[in-house]
Symmetry: C2
Subunit: 385 residues, 2 copies
């Protein structure tokens, strides 16, 4: 129940142990073709969808290195820890970074981006994270994308925590590049980054004067391997692709709409329980994520000790605060297979036992009752199939 | 039986399906510490050993981006397809590449490197592949490393196909960086790159004026995550690390010396069989690999048709010729779990049936007999435990 990796379904774990076949074997190409189409359904795109052979951060770096050239102006919207990682990467790559820094824990007003684009009409690429896992916020990326395109820029987004957990429409929102992780709401093991890429962005990469400085993360070479000609690039991570395929099949079987509602319902129950413990949820209703709930630590409750007790006594991992939120909050993930009532109840029960030891008094049973009452209102399945 | 991925043992495949735990969980740190030590035994180093979260090509790019800065002179010894990939990567990174190109299928005379270093005393990094999988050759990298150090340069090598398949001594040979793949002689699934790094090389990265342009592949950040402080970097590929640990444990249990001899013995049997089919093995005895045997296609034998028949009728994958060898040879891998007499016999039997259909006459039974006679001479186990 941390910010990820989340748990994987046994079906996905079993797929990880299938025998290895060659990455240039025609049977494996069939699997790539099938998975590419399925990822298109997950991203809601008819353009290019495939996977980068690395963590979500590899997807992040693949976008930055492929979609802009050294010296190009790149606007990075920053409202959390992973936005700051994008800035570090972009600066290392020699991009001319214009950072828009807004308050953590709030959604960014698109007008700030519009103003910055007016000051920087030369902008090649705009970057904004959809669901900021460090701050627990959802961001208006469809509006960011519209503004970027008006200015002639490409728009790239991080959907690591949002994909398959809440609404995301790659084509309808006219995104150019979106990268995700396998280990959050898709509930596959970590280590592969599903991505979607627009025709327009691919055309930019193919026609840029100098190729991306990274060969491994060049999105056009990876697209060529996943594309109809299956042009050899690096050796593909065969087992990770087996696991991802099974996880994506399970998500499509559940249907995205039901899966989003499952994340909504379980998160609402968790929040009801946390509020019954008199804990403060600092992110506003409008801006908060269902996949990741930020909870303020009350006065007197020790961050390190609390998390250590949860993992050692209850086998529950929750995330620490990062950056501006370090030591101030804990972050509770409800993603994919981990997003189920059993986990909500297990955590609330543990907190009810532990918090009084830190001097934070709670009314026994109130949290579980509140969560249970909230879950009773949900019209959709609360567990995945 | 292609150039990789090779087969994985069921124990390794089962490890891939273990439940996911967090990459910052103390229990996972224990696993990293243990695996790092085990990789040290495999590389024969007391310095730094860990794994890059990507294919062998990610290890390759991690070395090039970390161990030299744009504009630095890098000498790349090129005698095969993967050397040419290193050149492409280094040029994309803005390194000043001095390529030494020597004949494919032969080991390179170290004197050529000595001469080139004399012409380029400013050289920051020398790069040479240990076992060139495209050309089937072993190369005198200990001598390359000695010459590089005499000139004050670092030495980086590719041990993708050599690690755990033939002698490799990271510390004794004074290597600075060696990267490998999981899917060759270690016989784990592809997708993670075990590496070793010298103190000297790590110190260079920590003290270079500008950090590597890649954040994801910065070897110092990856070393910091695997090191005693376990400083968070990207999310680690948990399942791949489970699988790699099991594969490395199996290799250490067999012992490296016995494993090398197993590769020697099975390759000798394969070669005896191929020669009994009157096929030409173009790599000299001195230069050839045991892990990968290059076979010249006789006049009249169609490359594509032969490989298609092998995979469709016999479920045997062999590799095509790359680069200078395209259409001229096939490449037969005997690596890790795939390096067993059963595979030698299966392939020889298939070739004995197929080659006459291409007009290449063979004496029935001669290949199997020759291989069998050769295996009878081996003093060591021919299968892994």
């Amino acid at each position: 129940m941390g910010p990820g990796p989340s748990s994987a379904n046994p079906r996905v774990l079993r797929a990880m142990s299938l025998p290895i076949i060659g990455y240039l074997d025609p049977a494996f190409f069939d699997l790539l073709d099938e998975l590419s189409g399925m990822l298109g359904e997950i991203f809601r795109t008819d353009q290019h969808s495939f996977a980068v052979a690395g963590a979500g951060s590899a997807g992040m770096e693949a976008g930055l290195v492929s979609l802009a050239s050294p010296g190009d102006t790149v606007i990075i919207c920053s409202y959390g820890y992973f936005c700051e990682r994008q800035i570090i990467m972009a600066e290392r790559l020699g991009l001319n970074v214009v950072a828009i820094r807004t308050e953590w824990g709030k959604s960014m007003d698109p007008q700030v981006l519009a103003d910055t684009l007016r000051d920087h009409p030369e902008t090649q690429l705009v970057v904004g994270i959809h669901a900021e896992t460090s701050a627990g916020t959802i961001q208006p990326i469809a509006e960011f994308a519209r503004l970027a395109h008006e200015s002639g820029a490409l728009f790239m987004t991080d959907v690591v925590t949002s994909l398959a957990g809440c609404e995301l429409e790659f084509d309808k929102w006219k995104l150019d590049f979106a990268y995700s992780g396998s280990q959050k709401c898709l509930a596959a093991p970590p280590g592969i980054s599903p991505v979607a890429l627009s025709e327009r962005a691919l055309s930019y990469i193919r026609n840029r004067p100098n190729p991306p400085s990274s060969w491994y993360l060049d999105l056009s070479l990876i697209a060529d391997y996943w594309g109809p000609d299956h042009i050899a690039h690096h050796t593909a991570p065969v087992s990770m692709i087996y696991g991802l395929r099974e996880a994506v099949a399970m998500a499509l079987n559940e249907t995205l709409e039901v899966r989003w509602k499952r994340h909504e319902a379980n998160a609402a129950a968790l929040r009801a329980g946390l509020e019954a413990l008199n804990l403060e949820l600092p992110i506003s209703e409008k801006d908060r994520l269902d996949q990741l709930t930020v909870v303020k630590l009350p006065q007197g409750v020790d961050d390190v000790k609390l998390r250590k007790q949860l993992i050692e006594e209850y086998s529950i991992e929750v995330g620490r605060g990062l950056g501006e939120f370090a030591g101030e909050v804990v972050r509770i993930g409800l993603m994919g297979e981990s997003c189920v009532p059993a986990n909500v109840f297990a955590l609330l029960n543990a907190l009810e036992k532990i918090l009084p030891e830190h001097g934070w008094e709670v009314a026994k049973g109130s949290a579980i009752s509140a969560a249970s009452a909230q879950l009773a209102e949900s019209p959709s399945p609360l567990y995945s199939a």
